[in-house]
Symmetry: C2
Subunit: 279 residues, 2 copies
């Protein structure tokens, strides 16, 4: 941080600078440094260990896309597990679906939820919905130990550097597979295919090995690292590209539509080539 600018170092040779009005909150939790900054362009921004996780003004490009694709392609989603997602943005999208009966959110860092409840009023609908149950625990441990089964598991993690490292391994995806019902589906954010090409392809490989196949789709999120952002789905039965015709799209979507759903799975040639090479 330097004066009224935040400098975000993404890779060894790339960083971005955001001008901010002021820091609303900053603390070092047991797991990471948590910062809430206020900016002119993006509204309030949540940073973990200096990396932007979400902002009020572009969060919808990420949160709608990490949730609505699975929520419109799995025909019977009643029980949902969110791993990570302590900001409440993913929750706030899920509760828009009346078909969902229960959501467990497992977040490792209780301070993230506390702070986001306070500073991000837009995510209140997710936190305050009676179907939401928040569990402060390591998501890896949770999926290893729980006896519950879910229809959908959403892995809404930070980058694989801090506490989220274990959420990108093949043993984690194997546990996720075990924790899903027989027609269950999982979706994870899977990073930039350009700046984090190795992580992106290893997620694909690991989900393929747990589920037999994997489907990738894309969005763009301006406050994440430049270019495309990817999501990867593992599904036991249902094709995530096939939209459930009788499930209405919640009102007020700012990114998602059925046409966007289908177009998001069309990958540029260089990404297809990456995946072929990744085997």
């Amino acid at each position: 941080m330097n004066g009224s600018w935040i400098y975000e170092k993404h890779t060894e040779d790339y960083g971005v600078s955001w001008k901010i009005n002021n820091i609303l909150h900053q603390e070092k939790s047991e797991y990471q440094e948590i910062t809430v900054a206020d900016s002119e362009t993006w509204g309030r921004m949540l940073l973990l260990d200096g990396i932007v996780q979400t902002t009020e003004n572009d969060e919808f490009m990420y949160h709608e896309m990490i949730t609505q694709v699975a929520l419109h392609s799995h025909p019977g989603i009643k029980n949902v597990l969110v791993i990570g997602g302590g900001d409440g943005g993913t929750l706030t999208q899920i509760v828009k679906h009346p078909a969902v009966e229960h959501i467990d959110l497992v977040e490792i860092d209780g301070q993230v939820t506390e702070i986001c409840r306070k500073y991000f009023p837009g995510f209140q609908p997710g936190f305050s919905d009676p179907r939401t149950n928040i569990i402060i625990q390591d998501g890896i441990e949770y999926v290893q130990k729980t006896n519950k089964k879910y229809d959908l598991i959403i892995v809404d993690s930070s980058d694989p550097t801090g506490p989220a490292v274990g959420l990108f391994t093949s043993s984690f995806y194997a546990s996720v597979f075990q924790t899903l019902n027989n027609d269950g589906m999982m979706v994870t954010q899977s990073e930039s295919p350009i700046f984090y090409a190795d992580i992106f392809t290893s997620i694909y490989r690991n989900i393929c090995s747990a589920f037999g196949s994997a489907h990738i789709y894309m969005s763009t999120v301006p406050t994440y690292i430049s270019g495309p952002w990817t999501f990867t789905i593992g599904s036991k039965k249902h094709d995530p590209r096939k939209i459930i015709s009788d499930r209405p799209v919640p009102e007020g979507m700012k990114y998602y539509s059925p046409a966007v759903h289908q177009a998001a799975f069309v990958l540029p040639q260089y990404i297809k080539t990456q995946l072929i090479k990744a085997g």
Copy 2:
């Protein structure tokens, strides 16, 4: 520039930093500062007035998309005009099509072409093709004065700050309309819909007023400003979303495919809303 990093200031509250190995060339031409830098991740980078215009490693995400969509949706492209594009990347895509008979490239700054011929060997095929004719002149003046007519006009400009300002006005698009054959098509890069929302919507409005309608499609280019990048088409007759079935896709495409062509026109809801408001 600071040590071995280039700092690119995009807006009043956003900038990015690129680590570079060294500067291969730097000069102040009549119009702008021209820099060629060498970087580990992106290969050689061309900067004009401190803003990245193209890099060896991600140029295809921009150049394939500014050219191949029109080249696969206009059934009779023989004569092409490129305005700007002095780096040769757009030329190099166009010459992949045997149907094209002649290309005039009108670049205001002769130094850009000289330098790119020298430092970007990947763009040699465009420069050295016998169908290519380079004219060093202001593109605005050229379309006002020429008696020639083209099937396709590609506006491959830098941002509307330096010498490119006039390439975003309604009078320029009116001249472009006049310079096209009766079934002609134009395409322009139309900036980030997020960081340059006003420019993006004004391009849309101006092309609509010249052509009666406009079509927007998207790509992502990591070394441009974060998030989506847009292109806007004005067409007198042919629907740019409709792919010509008998025109083969040139070999070696790294971004473009017929499926990408069609998916690129599917806009997220927030962009549709922007366009409705821009009316």
